[in-house]
Structure formats: C-alpha cells, structure tokens
C-alpha cells in the first residue's frame, strides 16, 4: 500500500516526489505517468498563484491502494475539496473538509479512479464565490461536534466534467486557465448541491449508511446505462433492495431529483455534448437510444427550452 502524507504547508508537488520514488515513475512537465507495472494513467498538479492548488488523479488498474493523507494543521485556513469518482459507487463523493482537521483519502486498487483534490485558502474561496455564503459551510465544519468533513453523493454533472477535465488537462495549451475554469464550475455545482441538500436535511434526513450505498448503486446504474431505455422502477428497486416507494422518496431526498428526472437529465446532457461535436441531430437521437428523432427533440426542448436545431443554429 502506498501512502503519501502531507503537512499543511507542503505543496502538492510533494505527492509527486513520494509517489515517483515509490513507483519509479516518469515525470514530465508536471505530469506523473504510471508505468504498466504499477497501474495505468497519470497524476498531475496545477498550482495557481491565488492560493488554489489542484491535484488531478486519473488512474486505473493500480496494483496497490493509494492513500493520501493531509495532516491536521490547526493553524491552517484552507478548505480541502475532494471530487472523487471511483468505480465503487458508495465512495464516489464530493466532499469539503477543513484543512485544520485533516483529511485522508484512499483510492482502492484495481478500480478506475478519477479524482480532483482542490486545496483552497478560505480567502481564496471567497475570491471565487464572494456572493455566496461560504460562512455557512465553515460554521458547520467548525462546530466541535460537527462532522470532520461534509460530503455529498457525486452526480452526473461532476462525472461529465471530470471526464472532460481528465481528457484535456495533459495537453491543454492554457493549463492554468483551464484549471481555474473547471474549479470554478465545480464549486458552482458544489454550492448548488450544498443548498439543495441543506434544505432537504432540514426536512429531516434519516438515511442510513446502508440506504446511501444502495442509492449510489442505483445512481451509477442510471448513469452508465443512459443509452438504454429507462430501466423501470421494478428493476431499480431490485438493484437497491428497497421497495419502489421508499426508493423513490429516498432517491429524491439524497439526489434532489426524481429517478426518471435524473436519468433524463444525464441522457440529455450527453446528447448536448454530442451536438457540440457537430454530430447531426438524427444520429444523436439514435446514439443516446431514441428510436424516433422527434421524441428526442421534444425531450430536449422540454429540458432546455429550445430544440436541438435551435441549439445548433443560434443565429
């Protein structure tokens, strides 16, 4: 098992040194490539002078677990945000932690891991989200009996963004700009989710760990099978081992979205990406599993307010 431990003031680049030494990897242009023996993929860092550091991990087929530990640093005034998409649904989460209390993240072996760790100074976060109530997050984290970190389930929005990010980061000509843009978007998603979740929490949560695990299995199933028809409540309730009614209410509570709504949004977001890459509407419709293009057009219009054709020809 590889283990990286970071003190408060140490830069993310130190991860590199430790891992590179441990696995004898190649580092070039601040990208660390894993050789076939120890896993596949890369780790890269980007440090922005505004006090934001980003560690991007895109790995698969690791031969050992990889643990990154941020030592508790009482005098630190940073947040550590984690956006982890891991093949095991129940540990794919979005989290925010106070660096003062430390954070440990473990990436399991043999799995596909896509993760972005962002360390941002509290003042730096203000810079990104001045208008938002970042204070609420701090106060929840600061309360002595509160959780060491807040976490929420990952949703398709993050999945799509992480996917794009990992595809482009290594060869992007303006890496810093690309990183700040993505971090800014991730934080927007995070805040949206935070406020939705906070509202839902106030209505009384009552989800057990068992429940959340089942729900994330359902979520992953919906995300992966966006090309097929909606699997139907019966099948989903078998996957989650819950009754259809409780699945529906609990899913809504956990993801802030109905089962079908979630499935449909993900599907159409994929469609939009295909349209962006100049694929004809008819082909997109078949590609995401519509047998009739006009059904696709209707669904698209319902979701975004304009038809695919208008999306393609905005002039």
């Amino acid at each position: 098992m590889s283990y990286v431990s970071l003190e408060n003031s140490e830069s993310f680049l130190k991860c590199f040194e430790v891992i590179a030494e441990d696995k004898s990897c190649i580092v070039s242009d601040s990208v660390l490539y894993f050789s076939g023996k120890t896993g596949k993929g890369f780790i890269t860092v980007a440090g922005l002078s505004t006090g934001i550091e980003v560690l991007a991990i895109n790995l698969s087929m690791l031969t050992e677990d990889l643990t990154i530990r941020f030592q508790p640093a009482p005098d630190s005034s940073s947040f550590i945000l984690g956006f982890d998409e891991i093949e095991i649904p129940s540990i794919s989460t979005v989290s925010i932690a106070d660096a003062a209390r430390g954070r440990t993240i473990t990436y399991p072996r043999d799995k596909v891991v896509r993760s972005l760790i962002v360390r941002v100074r509290k003042s730096g976060l203000d810079q990104l989200i001045k208008d938002f109530d970042a204070g609420t997050i701090s106060s929840i984290l600061d309360s002595a009996d509160g959780p060491a970190f807040l976490s929420w389930p990952i949703t398709f929005k993050y999945r799509l963004l992480l996917n794009d990010f990992m595809n482009e980061i290594v060869q992007h000509p303006f890496r810093e700009l690309f990183t700040i843009r993505n971090v800014s978007m991730l934080i927007e998603y995070l805040l949206q989710q935070f406020f939705v979740m906070q509202k839902l929490d106030q209505e009384g949560s009552g989800l057990s760990i068992q429940d959340t695990r089942s729900l994330s299995r359902v979520e992953q199933h919906l995300c992966l099978h966006y090309k097929n028809e909606f699997p139907g409540i019966e099948k989903l309730s078998r996957i989650s081992a819950m009754s259809p009614t409780s699945l529906k209410t609990k899913f809504k509570k956990y993801y802030g979205e109905t089962l079908f709504g979630y499935y449909q949004k993900n599907k159409l977001e994929h469609a939009r990406k295909l349209l962006d890459s100049k694929i004809p509407v008819k082909v997109v419709a078949t590609e995401i599993g519509y047998s009739n293009p006009s059904h696709f057009t209707l669904a698209f219009k319902k979701e975004y307010g304009f038809s695919p054709w208008h999306y393609l020809n905005p002039h």
């Binding site: 990104l128 303006f174 810093e176 700009l177 800014s184 805040l191 962006d276 905005p314």
Partner: protein, 309 residues
C-alpha cells in the same frame, strides 16, 4: 470597479448606451450590454487600467467596427457571433445600422491577472505580440456552444445575485475557447472557422468548385448541389455560414453579380444580355440582386463607367 446602480426610469431611457460593469470574484471585470440600438456608436467601457479587453458580440442586422477615433479610418463589417481581443484603452466602436438588437459581453483582463494565470505561457506570449502592434484586433468566430454560453452570461442582466458565478463560469469558458482557437490557428490548424472536420472542409471545397463551374447556367439550382453531394440544405448552409459568413444562395448570387459587373465593365453586351448569360431568367430579378450587392442599379453603374471613360 463599482457596479453602477441606477433608478429604473433612467435605465430605461439610457439603456441603449449603458454598460453594466461587474467585477468577477476571480479577478476579471465584465461589462454586459443588451439593447436594441438605432444608428448609434457603441464604444467599449473605460476600465482605467492596463490590460486587454475581450469582447463577444452577437446581433441581428448590420454592425460595423471602427478601430480608431480618426474619421478617415475605414470601418470593417462585423459578423454576428464574434470575439474580438484588443489592448484596453485603444478606441474601438461598434456602429449599428437601423435598429439592431445588439448584445455584448466585454471582459477586461488586467495585466496582473494575465501574469497570474497565463504568465510564461508561450502561446499567449505570441498573442500578446500580435496585440501590441499598432491598432491590432484579434478576432474569432463563435460556435454554437459559445453563443449559448454568451446568452447564459447575459442572463446576469435580468436576474441579479446568484448568477454572478454563472457569469464567471461562462466568461472563463469563452476566454478559454478564444485562446485555444488562437492557439490552434497559430499552429496553423483551421485558421478562420470553427469547422475543424476534414470531411466538412473537403465537402465545402467540392461544392465551391462545382459552383464556380456551373453558376452561370440557368438550370443550376441549389437542389442540384444537394443531389450531387448528398447533404441536407441546412447542413450545407450551416457550413457555408461558418466559413463564408453567408448562406449558399447568397454566395452564388454574389458570384454571379461579381461576374456581371466585370461583363458590364467590358462594355460589350447589353444589360439584359448579361442578365441572361449569368443565369437570370428575369431582368428585374437581376437588377434587384445587383442593387442588393452594390447598392446601385446595373444601368447607373454602366453610366458611371461610361462617364469615367
């Protein structure tokens, strides 16, 4: 930079010329404007700092760009969905024709910000060099994704507050698109348009050569091109618009009229003969088309040439 706050009445009357300036948390400054302008000059807001401005404009109708305050300076036609980058403080004016719905987002990028996020970037350095030359503007056409980002960004005008982060994200994405596009064109990949597909480009070249071969024939129609190339009208029009900035029929018309202008200058054939030879079956259609392109009738043009000779 402070946000301008106005009482609603004043906003109504002066809306046409009022930029709304917002500073983004990430360190950029954004000015947004959405209006229906009737023959006015819209100049960029003054940010009173050193840096670059990156303007994204979209409109319907006729808009021209002026790069300096000198009256003798030539105006350039703009095209809808355009990004323009220049050094802040240099004059740049958008002159609108009759009643044009005009929307713009101007990003101000201070030098300090450039240093933070783009310092030491070789590609950006080249862009800077081009910009620093006298009165230089770098332009880039926006694709559909960018236009939808632009309209998202402009939503800040209608709903204030929590759309600021939204504006910031759209702005950063637009900036990134613009720079990447420049970067690619510096590398020599697809210099003008956002069509980067080899198939599309070769299709356009094929259609162009087909047009230049047959455009004078009176049996030549757009339909015959579609049949020959197995494409849809919308697709071909979309491609033509992104490359030439005009529809396929406009392209053909311009080619015919250009040819007819040459023939008039030759002064061998009569106008009705010319109209017939370049493929117009009706002389009045031809005169209308000629007038649309050159703002003068072919007869008057002929007289002009005769009087000059």
């Amino acid at each position: 930079m402070t946000m301008k706050s106005q009482d609603p009445d004043q906003e109504k009357t002066h809306k046409a010329f009022q930029w709304q300036v917002l500073s983004l948390p990430v360190g950029l400054c954004a000015a947004v404007l959405k209006c229906t302008a009737d023959r006015v000059d819209i100049s960029l807001p003054d940010f009173q700092q050193q840096g670059y401005t990156l303007s994204f404009i979209n409109y319907k109708g006729d808009v021209r760009i002026r790069k300096s305050s000198r009256p003798e300076e030539k105006e350039q036609p703009a095209s809808p969905g355009l990004g323009l980058m220049s050094v802040a403080g240099r004059p740049m004016t958008f002159r609108t024709g009759a009643s044009v719905p005009f929307a713009a987002l101007v990003l101000f990028i201070p030098h300090s910000w450039v240093h933070l996020f783009l310092g030491g970037n070789a590609s950006f350095h080249k862009i800077e060099q081009v910009l620093e030359e006298e009165a230089n503007i770098i332009t880039c056409r926006l694709g559909r994704r960018q236009l939808s980002l632009l309209s998202t960004a402009l939503a800040v005008l209608s709903e204030r507050g929590d759309s600021l982060l939204n504006l910031q994200n759209s702005a950063l994405a637009l900036l990134e698109y613009f720079l990447c596009n420049r970067h690619r064109s510096l590398l020599g990949v697809n210099p003008v348009s956002d069509i980067d597909n080899e198939d599309d480009l070769s299709l356009i070249r094929e259609v162009e050569s087909y047009i230049s071969e047959f455009y004078c024939s009176d049996t030549f129609t757009v339909d015959s091109i579609l049949k020959k190339t197995y494409t849809s009208y919308h697709r071909l029009n979309f491609l033509f618009k992104s490359i030439h900035g005009m529809t396929i029929s406009e392209y053909i018309r311009n080619k015919r009229i250009e040819k007819s202008k040459e023939m008039i200058a030759d002064n061998v054939k009569s106008i009705s003969q010319i109209a017939y030879e370049i493929g117009y079956s009706s002389i009045s259609n031809y005169i209308l088309a000629f007038k649309k392109v050159y703002q003068i009738t072919p007869g008057k043009y002929k007289k002009q040439i005769d009087s000059m000779a």
